[in-house]
């Protein structure tokens, strides 16, 4: 109750000493240690009553117990680390797989190219102007080379 708080030694600054009396027992002051303990427990309520904070309202000789910093269950850095790691692993896998595919494609291409060369040679013999069948049909001696090519042609 307000009447139980007595002020003394008032200074220019808003600072004061105070004692708390216990009205139930006959005007005896509550011991300092009890007041200290009570203030420590209810620091927040006292602060908010005055719209002040631990920094602006100071109780001499009463150090405030500090609230621990908020710590989430999984450290945040592990989450970020997991994201980064997944990205890297995905990148490596992608590059390695694409490298293997390119390698396979390259070997396939070289064999295809060899086949293509054969095919072009064969078409050249056709595009020479004189199709082989005509040559064959016409009388005359058959060119050995063309005959050989002819064989290859028919094997297709």
């Amino acid at each position: 109750r307000i009447s139980n708080v007595l002020l003394c030694n008032v200074t220019d600054r808003v600072s004061f000493w105070f004692v708390v009396t216990d009205s139930s027992k006959n005007v005896t002051t509550v011991p300092g240690s009890e007041v200290e303990a009570a203030i420590r427990m209810n620091r927040n309520r006292i602060n908010s009553a005055f719209l002040l904070s631990d920094k602006t309202l100071q109780f001499l000789k009463i150090t405030s117990t500090l609230s621990p910093p908020v710590e989430p269950s999984t450290p945040v850095w592990l989450i970020v680390f997991g994201v980064v790691l997944c990205l890297i692993v995905a990148g490596i896998v992608f590059l390695v797989v694409s490298g293997i595919q390119k390698h396979k494609k390259r070997t396939k291409d070289t064999t295809e190219r060899e086949n293509l060369e054969e095919k072009v040679e064969v078409t050249v013999t056709l595009e020479n102007g004189i199709p082989c069948e005509v040559l064959d049909l016409k009388a005359g001696h058959i060119n050995g080379v063309f005959a050989a090519d002819d064989e290859r042609f028919t094997s297709l």
Partner: protein, 611 residues
């Protein structure tokens, strides 16, 4: 019939997609962490703007000639480091091997620095930043003692990140969080270098250009911070008296040398993928100028932020004093402000001197706070992180800053790894059929396993050792032999003809003079000065020991004998390759007269190889 468009030329050598990629790779290799955290520090302690004078002289007579030499050499011979020097003369093969060893050693510890950057980066996503608050002690009445005595940033760096031991002989345990980050970093390096310059060429667009973007953002932000102008004035005010100190000239010469990443073999590897007819002279000038401009450009935001930090610390000091005075004299809140602090203090000192003395006020001097200069990891992880806490939106600034540091370091790592990778490919250590991916994977895996040593409690002491001994002295020796080898063994007349064939212009007199006389002489002087300075005092290190009386000051300790032996080994091993290989070939050939041994085969020439 057209051949499928491949990246290989007729001689089977990969090449750059375009010229810009090549220039960017060289710039990325040269521009590294040193441009951000070593150059501004040197500027500050060596008289501000006056330091630029020895810096540019060193650039002109040492940095630029050596850079041009390496780029021209690689382009001409179209081989990696070891192959190039063996081509010039088998006796000079040791130069290539020496720089290969240095590249290996530097790659090992450089990536661990990137590990620390990555650790800070992934911790920057929290609110509040973990290095801004001290953790509480057990009964929650106060803060953790080690943290309270030093600062929260110090605690986070030395305890939460490094978990540092008080002595280098105590190895401590492997820090699992650092191992995870180390694996990630080597994973990133593997991802980017998996197929040699094919993949680094694409990655370099990001890692080389992104830091400039962030530096610009920091520049704009830094200049708006209070106290930025104090920091900048402090940095750039020239003090010409410092030029009388030979230490300044030595620091300028070593800074330009290490800043351009010469003698690592990475530049030779990069330019060996060029088409032979490329203007290497213009490239060298471009890279050198961009590197120096970047150093200057980076020092502006760094010093704005440092000025801001000093000003904030000064204001904090003032505020603490003001609160003590107000409490003591029971004055009202707004009576003493920062502006009238000095007049109040003098008034109170004259009227109540005993009371003032009893308060034990700390003297607040802005100059003192500005003088607290740091370089290297201290700048990034302690000073800068502290400044970032004070900025609004600290998470964003922290994330940006650490990504920038990571990109800077990563692009330098590309050059280092290329210096290791290319000679191995050419020496055909592995059979030709093995894919490049496998070789780079093996290199990264082995490096990761060896670098695990740096994640021990004493890891950061070892990294300092590697930095001081493996990454400094051998490079000077190798560069010296490079110049001597090209100018006097390959003969500068031949080299001039080669360069003329490549660039289309006759070799300038400036290059002739610097290559022949000035650069070797300068290198010799720098080398001797370096050795003298190192041997003058017995090598010591500063240990973080919470049980030390002067804590939070660091304890000066001397290296034990076995550690000193390792230091010597690190410095001497790459250098000793040069005479060893020469000796090996000498005895192999069993020549009768020395002269005939040294004549390189006349058949070989730069143009002949490529026509």
């Amino acid at each position: 019939l057209s051949a499928t468009p491949e990246i290989t030329k007729e001689d089977g050598r990969p090449k750059w997609d375009n010229k810009f990629q090549y220039i960017l790779s060289c710039i990325g290799f040269a521009v590294g962490l040193g441009n951000v955290w070593r150059f501004p520090y040197l500027c500050q302690i060596h008289g501000g703007g006056a330091f630029l004078i020895p810096y540019f002289i060193a650039l002109l007579f040492e940095g630029l000639p050596l850079l041009h030499l390496e780029l021209a050499l690689g382009q001409c011979l179209r081989k990696g480091n070891i192959g190039a020097w063996t081509s010039i003369s088998p006796y000079l093969g040791g130069v290539g091997i020496g720089s290969w060893v240095v590249s290996v050693l530097v790659s090992l510890y450089y990536n661990t620095v990137l590990t620390w950057v990555m650790w800070y980066f992934i911790n920057s996503f929290q609110e509040p930043l973990p290095w801004s608050v001290c953790p509480l002690n057990e009964n929650r009445t106060g803060f953790n003692e080690e943290c309270y005595e030093s600062t929260a940033v110090n605690y986070f760096w030395y305890r939460k990140t490094l978990n540092i031991t008080p002595d280098i002989a105590e190895s401590g345990t492997l820090q699992w969080w650092l191992i995870l980050c180390l694996a990630t970093c080597w994973g990133i390096v593997y991802l980017c270098t998996i197929r040699g310059i094919e993949t680094t060429g694409k990655a370099i667009y990001v890692t080389a250009l992104f830091p400039y973007l962030v530096l610009t953002i920091f520049l704009i932000q830094g200049l708006t911070l209070p106290g930025a102008t104090d920091g900048l004035a402090y940095l750039f005010t020239p003090n010409l008296n410092t030029l009388k100190n030979p230490r300044v000239w030595l620091d300028a010469a070593t800074q330009i040398f290490f800043s351009l990443s010469l003698a690592f073999g990475g530049l030779i590897a990069f330019s060996s993928y060029n088409p032979p007819k490329n203007d290497c002279e213009k490239d060298a000038v471009t890279v050198a100028i961009v590197n120096s401009m970047t150093s200057l450009y980076a020092s502006i935001p760094v010093f704005s932020v440092l000025g801001f930090k000093a000003t904030t610390a000064y204001w904090d000091c003032l505020d603490r004093n003001i609160i003590s005075i107000i409490n003591e004299f029971d004055l009202s809140e707004e009576s003493i402000m920062r502006q009238n602090y000095t007049s109040w203090i003098s008034f109170l000192n004259s009227s109540y001197p005993e009371k003032i003395a009893g308060l034990k006020l700390k003297s607040c001097d802005l100059q003192e706070f500005l003088d607290q200069s740091v370089s290297g990891t201290g700048l990034a992880f302690i000073v800068f992180t502290q400044a970032i806490i004070l900025m609004p939106g600290s998470q964003a600034w922290a994330i940006l800053f650490f990504i920038m540091l990571f990109s800077l370091g990563l692009s330098s790592m590309f050059g280092n790894i290329e210096g290791v990778f290319t000679p191995l490919l050419e020496l055909q250590v592995v059979p030709k059929s093995t894919p490049k991916e496998l070789l780079s994977g093996i290199i990264c895996l082995i490096s990761f396993l060896i670098a695990l040593c740096f994640t021990l409690g004493s890891g950061s002491y070892w990294i300092d050792i590697f930095d001081r001994y493996a990454g400094s002295l051998p490079l000077l020796v190798i560069a010296f032999f490079e110049v001597i080898g090209v100018v006097y063994i390959y003969k500068i007349k031949r080299f001039s003809k080669d360069v003329k064939w490549m660039t289309g212009r006759k070799l300038n007199l400036y290059w002739q003079i610097t290559w022949r006389f000035i650069s070797p002489l300068l290198l010799l002087i720098v080398f001797m000065a370096f050795v003298i300075l190192q041997t003058q005092k017995s090598p010591s290190y500063a240990a973080w020991n919470p049980k030390y009386e002067g804590f939070p000051m660091k304890e000066e300790k001397v290296y034990p004998a076995w550690v000193q032996a390792i230091c010597v080994l690190l410095a001497v091993l790459p250098c000793v390759c040069v005479p060893l290989v020469a000796l090996f070939h000498l005895t192999k050939k069993k020549c009768t007269s020395k002269d005939s041994c040294f004549v390189p085969s006349e058949v070989f020439s730069c143009q002949g190889a490529n026509s």
